[in-house]
Each structure stands twice: as C-alpha cells, then as structure tokens.
C-alpha cells in the first residue's frame, strides 16, 4: 500500500513538472531534400505522439538507399542536410518548421540524429532543433550495403512557465524575523574566544612584541 502511494505521488510530481495545459496529440511529417524526383522536398517519414504529456514517439521512417547516400556525399564538401517538418496538432495544421545539420557530420555519425521539439504550454511546437548524435563509431563509416537504417531520437522539450517574483518566501522571511525580534534577540551561544578573538589577538601580539623587545636591556643591565 505504501509503495502504491509513493508511485502515485511520483506520477503526480511528474505531471506537475511537465507544464502542459491539456494533453493532445502531435503529428510531425518529416521531409528532406535527398533523392527527390521533382519536388524540392520529399517524404522521409513521420513522428507521431498520441500524448504530448507522456512524450513517447512513434517514429516511422524510410531507409536510405545508395541514392540518398550519394547525394549526401555530394553535399559533404560543406553542404547541409535540411529537414522540413510539417507539424500538426489538434489546434493547428501543417506548420512549417525547417532545421538542418551539416551533411558531413550526419554521414560521420552513421545517420543518427536527435530531434528536439520545443512545445509551448498549450501544446504548440515553436521550434525543432536537429542535431547529430555523438557516436563512438569511427569517423569514416563505409556505406557498402544497399539499405541503411536511420537512427533518430526524438525528444519533447517544454517551454516552462517562468517563475513569478518570489513574494511569498520573502514575506515568510520577514515574518520569521519579526517573530525573532518579538521573542528577543537570539542568544549568542558562541564561546568567549570565538566572539572576541579580533580584540584578543592584537593584544596578544602586542604583548609578545613588547616582551621580545624588553629582555635585551634587562640583560645589558645585568652585565
């Protein structure tokens, strides 16, 4: 029973952490510029989420063939690999967002990328950032087979509601101080030395210096 309450509580906390007004679905059509016949952009796949709150994506993408790879290699010099996404939610339809990576880096990573979608509290996507995943694989991967699988990772990132000016805790602090003042000043329970060391040390030094200087004339007098 205790376990259950803890789980229930943690789920609640999670829900609060993700600041969405209401849950909804999200569908992202992913298009790219590679191996297209007539159009500028052609389909690469789609990412769909049943619930933005859970953030679990279903990624359905084509596999790259030699045509794709060759085009990527042509662009490798210092070209870019651009991704056009059409984002649809319950509220809006086909909002065009474009993002890109360097083609060279994309090839080096073994066609693995990270897509981050930034979502407003009302569930609308404002920006997508496409980044190449850091892989431990060697930099010169050879593309020899006929089909290559795309390795995409998708994350939802939430635009957090910004904090309000922290008036509550400040008022609490003031109240606490007021209470303390009413009770009388807090008793200082430090030791005598801890309290007045800054007065004692100079005196001690002064005594030591004068003590060190004095013996000499005394010795002379004895002679």
């Amino acid at each position: 029973m205790k376990m259950f309450t803890i789980i229930f509580f943690s789920i609640n906390v999670l829900q609060n952490a993700i600041c969405l007004d209401y849950d909804g679905w999200l569908n992202i059509k992913v298009e790219h510029t590679l191996n297209c016949k007539y159009e500028e952009y052609c389909a690469r796949g789609s990412i769909s989420l049943k619930s933005i709150r859970t953030g679990i994506p279903v990624i359905d993408q084509i596999n790259f063939n030699d045509g794709h790879i060759n085009e990527l290699k042509i662009a490798k010099v210092d070209g870019i690999y651009a991704l056009r996404t059409l984002v649809s939610t319950a509220e809006s339809k086909d909002v065009e967002i474009i993002s890109f990576v360097r083609a060279k880096r994309f090839l080096e990573s073994g066609l693995s990328d990270i897509i981050r979608a930034w979502v407003l509290p009302n569930g609308e996507v404002i920006a997508l950032s496409l980044q190449v995943a850091n892989t431990s694989q060697p930099k010169n991967i050879e593309y020899k087979s006929s089909e290559y699988k795309l390795n995409s990772t998708f994350y939802i990132r939430h635009v957090d509601p910004a904090p309000l000016p922290d008036t509550a805790s400040y008022i609490q602090k003031l109240e606490r101080e007021k209470e303390a003042r009413e009770k009388g000043e807090l008793k200082d329970n430090r030791s005598f030395l801890a309290k007045y060391w800054m007065y004692i040390v100079p005196i001690a030094i002064f005594v030591m210096i004068s003590g060190a200087a004095n013996p000499e004339p005394a010795a002379q007098a004895a002679r």
Partner: protein
C-alpha cells in the same frame, strides 16, 4: 560739543570695530563654498546633457516680458521658451506623446496660451517668464469630424472653426481665461467648402467649383454679418495652372491675412476684398510672411535653390520696393527648405530695420538670423530623434602611427629596420625637445582628435530620424561635423564601423545602412567618421528593399570589413564586391515582426557570387497570432574572457557563452490565458533553441538586453497589474563542454544548456534597457534602465542574477531603486528612448550615451575605478613622504656610522 564727541567717540569706534569684525566674518564665510550634496564638485566633470525640444511647429517672439524669449511649440509635443540671445532652453514643458499632447495652437500675448489634445481639448495659459501654469480648462466638441478644426485667438477670445464639408462652418468663441461661451456656435452657410481650404485668420478661404469655373471664396468667420468674397480663380492665376492650383497661407504669424496662390502669386485680404500683391513670390518653394517694418508693412521671403543658395528678400507691401538692408544671398549657408517660423522687425534710430528671423529647415535645425542673413544661433533639433548610435575610436597621433608602422613592416632587411628605428627615435627625441620648449600646445591644436592613453576620447556618430548624421565629441558634447541626407530614412538604420582608425595609413570607415524615404529601398552611406566626409562608395541607393545586413567578421586586404546585405528577393550583395570570396561560413537570420516567424540563411561564395540558402525556420509564437516585441543581440564590441563563475563552495560553474544567441521576446494570444509572453533564446546559426520561458497573462514591452550568458527583458503582468523584469542565465554546468581554447561552434554542439530563470517587480516604468560593456567583460555587469521619470538607473547584475545560491538570504522580490543609483543625478532626461554603451580602453569603465528628447553622456564604472587613481589622489603628500623617508634613511645611516665609530673609540 566736546562732551558729546567724547561720549560718541568710544561708541563710534566700537561700531567701527564691530563693522570691521563683521567684515571679516563676511570675508570668512564667502570663502566657504556651501555644498548641498556629495560629489557636487563632480557635476559635469565626466558627463554632459543637451536639452532639445524637437522639430518646431509654432513659434512666436515674446515681446511683452523684459527678458526676450521665443516661445515654441513642437511636433514632439513640447512647449518651451528659448533665450533670444543664446538659443538655450529657458523653460520647457513636455506633454504626452499620444494625441492628447498634440499642440494645436500657440498664442503669445501677455500670457502664453496653448490648445492641446484632440477632442477633448485642453486650453492652458502659461506665464511666459517662468513657464508656470496659470489657468486651464477643457473643451469637448460635439462633432465627430474634429480633425479639420482650426483655432486662433482674437481679442481675448478663443475662436474655434469647424468646417462641415458641403454644408456650413461652425464657429464658436470662448472666453480665453474662463472658457465661458459667448453664445451658441454660429453656423455660417458654406455649401461650397471642400478640402482645398485654409484658414487665414480671421478669414476662411477655399477654392471651389467645377474645374473650368473655379471660384476663390473667402469668409470672415468672426464678423456678425455674413460676407462672402467670391472671385473667379482665373482673375489671379493662368487658366493652365488652375487644374491643381496650390493654396497655402502665409507663414510666420503674418500680420495681414493673405495666402500664396499657385506658384508665385500672393493675395492679401483687405477691407473684405482680395488684393493682389505687388510683389511676386521669388521661388515656388519660398516661405513668405508680412511683418511690420520701419516703413510700413514688409513682405519677407526666404528660399533655397541651387543657383543662389540661401536667399532672403524683403519688399515693401505698399510700394513693392525692395528693402535692401534685409536682403541676403549666401551660397555657403546650408538651410534646406527654409521656412519662416517667426519674424520680428523693429525700427532703429536711423529708420533702418533691425530684424530677428526664426527659420526652420527640413533637417529640423532652427536658425535665428539677423537682417542681412547673419546667423545668431542655430539649434540642431534633429538630435531629439536619434535612431542609431556608434562610438568611433580616434586615430593615433602621428608619432604613434610611425612607431606602429615600424612593427608592421614585414619585408626589408635588418639594416633597413635598424635605419627605421634610428629615424623614429630621432623623431621622438625631436618631439621631446619640442615639448620641453613648450611647443606641445601648438602641436596639439591642429590634430587634437587623437586617441588618448585610456581611449576615453571618442566620436559619437548619431543617425537621426530627419536624415541628418552628426559626429559629436564625447568629452565636450560639441558637434564636430554634420551631414544632411534628404532621402535617408533612419527608421531601421544600423551603423557599422567597418574599419577603425587604428590601422594607418587607412582612414576610418563607417557605413550607415538605412532606407530611402520614398521607396523604402536600401540606402547606404559610407563616410569617414572623423571628418564626416563621404568615402569609397559614398552614397549608394539600391533599387531593392533590404531584409538584413551584417558586417563580415574577417577584414579584407585593406583591413576593411565588408558589408553583407540580404535583399527581399533573397539575393546577397557584398560591399565591396571584391570581398565576396571571403564569405565563408556566414549565417544570417531574418525575423518577421508581425508573425514571429524567424528564418535562417547560410551564405556561401560559389565561385561567382554569394548565394543565400534558407537553412532553418521557426514559428516562435506557434501557429496563432504573435508578434516579436523585442530582440536583443550581443554587442559586437563585447569580448568575454571569463568562462565561468566561482561559487560559494569554491567550485566553478561554467557559463554557456554562445555568441550566436539572440533573445526574442514574443507576444502571442492564447485562447485560454489571453496574452502570453514567450521569451526565446535562439541560436541564430543553427536554429536551435537554447532556452525559453513563458509568462502567462502578460504583455511584452519592447525592452530586452543580452550580454554573455545573461538575458533581461521586461513585461507587464496583467494579472498583478505591475511591471516585471525577468532574467535568464544559461550555464553548461560544473563540467566544461569544450576544452579551453577550442572555438565554439553552434553546429558542432548537441547539448542543451541549463537555464535559470528569475523575475522581479520593478516599481517604475522603464523606457529603455541596456547592459554596460567593458573591454574584457571582467568587471561586474550592470543593467541600465531609462525610466519615464527622467532617471537612468544602474542595477548591479548581482541583484538580478537568475541563479540563486541557496546559502544566500532571500532577495527582495521588488527591486530597490536607490536614489544614488541614478546616473544622471538631478538632470532629468525627458523621454529616454535608448541607451548605448561602449567599452573604454580602461577595463573598469564603460561609456554611456542616453538618447531621447535629451542627450546625456556619462561614463560608468560598475566595479568602481579599480584601475585608476582617485581624482583627489594627493601626489604632493606622497612625494613629500617618499622624499622625507629617503632623507631619513640616509641621515640615519650617517648617524649610525658615526655612532659605530664613536663606540669603536671607546
């Protein structure tokens, strides 16, 4: 008698003695300078303020009061009195910027009267000496078409004329002091009124009728009996001209009602009749008025043309003869489109005219002239609407330049280098001898515009709305050069220092990228910021609108940074075109203000030209309606040297110091929460989002600033009905992502920084915000806020830090604005519109220019002047102490040796 004198004598002596004592007291007290504030002696030492009033709309000479003044009302909704002798502001009232502050009428009689606002109107009376408000009453007109209202003052009555087109004219008179109505409004039948009408008080004059038989009609609106003067227009102008004949009233408070008809005809209205003037207009664009001269009325005209330059003429109205003592024609005077604002002529003893003419120009400058065209003073009112500001470094002195060129030479043998070294050292020796002879002052005067040791002396280049560009000395506030470009619209101007004066033999190069006034096309002006002369491509007007402009980060072989311009057809223009191959790995962004759509472009040179390719696009407001309220970019002048900050537990927190971040403050409409403000920190190279925050039920203010990893923006919280200031900081964390020394690349990183947020309540209304900038960003950072109260306050970033140490006590949620944080102490700055900061050569100091209706320059030291000796540093004391110590050391040495000797003899 003797008794009396002996009695008086001691008391008289006593009195004398007493007076003597008093005298000493007076002398003594007069030596003490009473100070009423701390650092009073530093007022104006590092700062200056210039007060402006804006482009003048109405002006009248105040001849009633003893101190001669000119009362002016301006388009910036300012009422002010200018000193007749110096042109300085005697007093000034700044009204609201909205239409409620719009000045409709200025009348100077015994008191100054103004009508401001637009239905309801406010009628106010001011004391002309002090500017104190004497009376005020409001007036609401029960009519919707009040925008064609005309006002004037006649016999202590305020007359309001409201034409109702096609039917009648409504005339209402009010008592000027009380506002009591003399009777109901009278309706004058005027079925002919159309839009070509003017008021030539007390007559209302129109051109009306079908094209072939147009009539010139005039009606005296104040007379009890309705009298309409009606004449065919062809009596006055040629039939060919009547198609679109021009009708405008005489300017400058003309004392006879009259108007200018067509290109050159002047017609007066006298005894209920039109009377053709004997004198014709000298030029189509001339401004004319009638004043009372030495021998009757004279008609004064002024214009500017290419042949004769500035021309001022005067003719007698009754005889048509020219009044020669006023005439002036000067090619050197540059007063574009002169307009007579007010003219006053008095008779001298020799029946001569002594005139004062106040002339307004198209460049918003106002000139006061004497008869004969002698300028008494001029005010550059264009500076009240500054749009873009750049601090320009001064060139090094000739000797320093020679020294630097010595190290620049790469070719040449050892011997030539040695010879050059000898030569420069000979020059330095010469300079030294010359300076010892006291000739340094002579040497300095012709080239005083040289860089000082701490690089505090700059030229501030200001581009104004009127299209006038100024070069101002930052230490004195003196205008060094000015340049007027009639076609330049500075609404969205940017200024780039493409080559600093640091690179002799090349001169400094500054470019202004603006738009052309009529077409909105690109307008590029290249000039030498030290002299104000056009250089290189000079004035370049493109035939396409520009989307974005930037300065290339790498200089070409002549150390000139190229301008890269992106036009609306997404074509790229590189200036100079020879620098196109340098465009490599260049990225640009374009934000649509009304939709919050932001796009990024990658620019590359493909062998022939530079091509822009769209690489990313984002909708910062989502799919719904949104607008960008403010953007903030990092200053080009900022170089960050500190990679992290030390925490209380002595560990280091590394900053996410991405130079490509831009802060967008977007206001969007949310169906649930109404307005919402979204602040987005976007990497404009990769299009990746670094941090964002949403504020519900808030409206954005167009104020944001960004420096290093800090962001600050302001918004109005609709829920709490207050202004709030939000800050955002980005951190990498306790571990550094990149090795030290590795350059940052937006495209290589795939990590997301930690974002810290904080919000504060601001108990004031800000109108401008900026960060201070120092040479190496090691000094503390302060936020400067221009407030509507006329103060510019300095807030330490430590108060605003988004990242709060848990160990520190809870900060007050309401920001303190202590009086000693005000930069401009008691010098109120009206309508602060922008704050500009630039680093000085000293790390501790940042130079600040505040623009708005006033200009204010100062320098700030956020961490105090740690690298500078104090002003009151006692050089004498330290010299005396040092020399005394040396003397004491040697004398004790001497005495000690003597003592040793004596002891040895014992």
């Amino acid at each position: 008698m003797g008794v009396l004198s002996s009695n008086l004598k001691p008391s008289f002596l006593g009195l004398l003695k007493f007076l003597n004592n008093m005298n000493w007291f007076i002398v003594f007290f007069s030596l003490i300078n009473i100070s009423v504030c701390i650092y009073e002696d530093q007022i104006g030492k590092f700062d200056w303020r210039q007060t402006y009033v804006g482009r003048i709309k109405f002006a009248q000479f105040d001849t009633v009061s003893t101190a001669k003044k000119i009362i002016v009302a301006t388009e910036e909704n300012v009422l002010a009195a200018l000193n007749l002798k110096t042109g300085q502001v005697v007093w000034r009232h700044v009204f609201e910027t909205a239409s409620t502050g719009n000045i409709q009428l200025l009348h100077v009689g015994e008191k100054v009267t103004t009508v401001t606002g637009s239905n309801p109107y406010l009628v106010r009376g001011w004391d002309s000496n002090t500017g104190v408000l004497i009376w005020e009453w409001s007036l609401t007109v029960q009519n919707d078409l009040t925008e064609y209202s005309q006002w004037w003052v006649q016999n202590n009555m305020l007359v309001h004329v409201l034409p109702v087109f096609g039917s009648h004219i409504e005339v209402t008179m009010y008592n000027l002091l009380t506002g009591s109505n003399r009777g109901a409004s009278s309706m004058l039948p005027a079925i002919w009124t159309n839009e070509r009408c003017i008021l030539t008080a007390p007559h209302y004059t129109c051109i009306s009728g079908p094209l072939e038989s147009q009539l010139l009609l005039s009606i005296d609106v104040t007379s009890n009996a309705v009298k309409i003067i009606s004449k065919p227009l062809t009596d006055y102008v040629d039939i060919q001209q009547t198609v679109s004949v021009n009708l405008r009233p005489l300017g400058g408070n003309s004392i006879i009602p009259g108007f200018v008809l067509g290109n050159d005809k002047i017609v007066f209205i006298r005894d209920n009749n039109f009377e053709k003037s004997k004198v014709q207009l000298g030029d189509k664009s001339a401004s004319a008025t009638v004043v009372d001269g030495a021998n009757g009325h004279i008609l004064v005209q002024t214009w500017m043309d290419d042949v004769t330059g500035f021309t001022l003429t005067a003719d007698s109205v009754s005889t048509g003869k020219e009044v020669t003592d006023i005439y002036c024609s000067d090619k050197t005077l540059n007063i574009p489109k002169p307009e007579l604002l007010a003219v006053m002529c008095t008779r001298t003893s020799r029946e001569q005219n002594a005139c004062r003419l106040l002339i307004n120009a198209a460049d918003d400058a106002v000139h006061l002239m004497q008869q004969g065209g002698r300028a008494l003073w001029a005010r550059e009112e264009a500076l009240s609407r500054a749009r873009a500001v750049e601090f320009v470094e001064l060139p090094v002195s000739d000797t320093d330049a020679a020294l630097e060129s010595e190290f620049d030479q790469k070719e040449g043998s050892v011997w030539s280098a040695f010879a050059r070294r000898l030569l420069t050292q000979y020059q330095q020796l010469q300079n030294l001898i010359r300076s010892l002879q006291g000739e340094s002052a002579v040497q300095k005067t012709p080239s005083s515009l040289v860089r000082d040791y701490f690089n505090l002396h700059r030229i501030i280049v200001i581009v104004t709305d009127a299209g006038k560009i100024f070069g101002i000395d930052n230490l004195s506030g003196e205008i060094l050069w000015r340049r007027y470009e009639a076609g330049l619209s500075a609404q969205s101007a940017s200024v780039f220092t493409r080559r600093s004066a640091r690179t002799p033999p090349h001169h400094a190069h500054l470019s202004v990228v603006a738009t052309q006034r009529d077409t909105g096309n690109g307008f590029i002006l290249s000039l030498n910021p030290i002299t104000g002369e056009l250089i290189d491509e000079g004035k370049l007007i493109l035939n396409v609108r520009l989307l974005q402009c930037m300065m290339l980060h790498v200089p070409d072989s002549e150390k000139l940074h190229a301008l890269v311009l992106l036009d609306e057809k997404e074509n790229v223009l590189v200036l100079p075109s020879s620098a196109a191959p340098l465009v490599e790995d260049v990225y640009m962004y374009v934000a649509e203000k009304d939709t919050a759509k932001v796009q990024g472009y990658s620019l590359r040179f493909d062998g022939k030209g530079v091509r822009a390719q769209r690489t990313w696009a984002a909708r910062l407001g989502g799919a719904g309606a949104a607008r960008v309220a403010a953007t903030a970019t990092r200053s080009r002048l900022e170089h960050v040297r500190a990679p992290g900050r030390a925490l209380a537990d002595r560990s280091v927190l590394y900053k996410y110091s991405n130079p490509n971040l831009v802060l967008f403050v977007v206001e969007r409409l949310d169906p649930l929460y109404k307005e919402e403000v979204v602040a987005v920190a976007l990497d404009v190279v990769s299009g990746a989002l670094a941090g964002a925050a949403a504020h519900r039920r808030a409206r954005a203010l167009p104020l944001a600033a960004h420096a290093d990893n800090c962001f600050v923006y302001l918004y109005r919280s609709e829920k709490h009905r207050r202004l709030e200031l939000a800050t955002m900081e980005l951190y990498e964390g306790k571990e550094r992502w990149l090795e030290p020394g590795v350059p940052f690349s937006s495209l290589e990183s795939n990590q997301v920084p930690i974002v810290e947020h904080q919000a504060f309540i601001l108990p004031a209304t800000p109108t401008a915000a900026a960060f201070t900038i120092t040479e190496r960003s090691l000094t503390d950072r302060h936020v400067l806020l221009g407030l509507s109260s006329g103060a510019v306050v300095e807030l330490p970033w430590a108060y605003l830090e988004a990242r709060r140490d848990e160990s520190l006590p809870v900060a007050a949620p309401e920001l303190p604005l202590p009086a000693d944080a005000t930069l401009n102490y008691n010098r109120t700055l009206q309508r602060v519109s922008a704050l500009h900061a630039a680093p000085a050569g000293l790390e501790s100091t940042s130079l600040v220019l505040v623009t708005g209706l006033d200009l204010f320059y100062t320098r700030v030291a956020p961490s105090k002047t740690f690298d500078l000796l104090k002003d009151d540093f006692d050089y004498y004391l330290i010299t005396i102490v040092l020399s005394a110590l040396i003397v004491a050391t040697y004398s004790t040495k001497y005495f000690a040796s003597r003592k040793m000797l004596k002891q040895a003899w014992k």
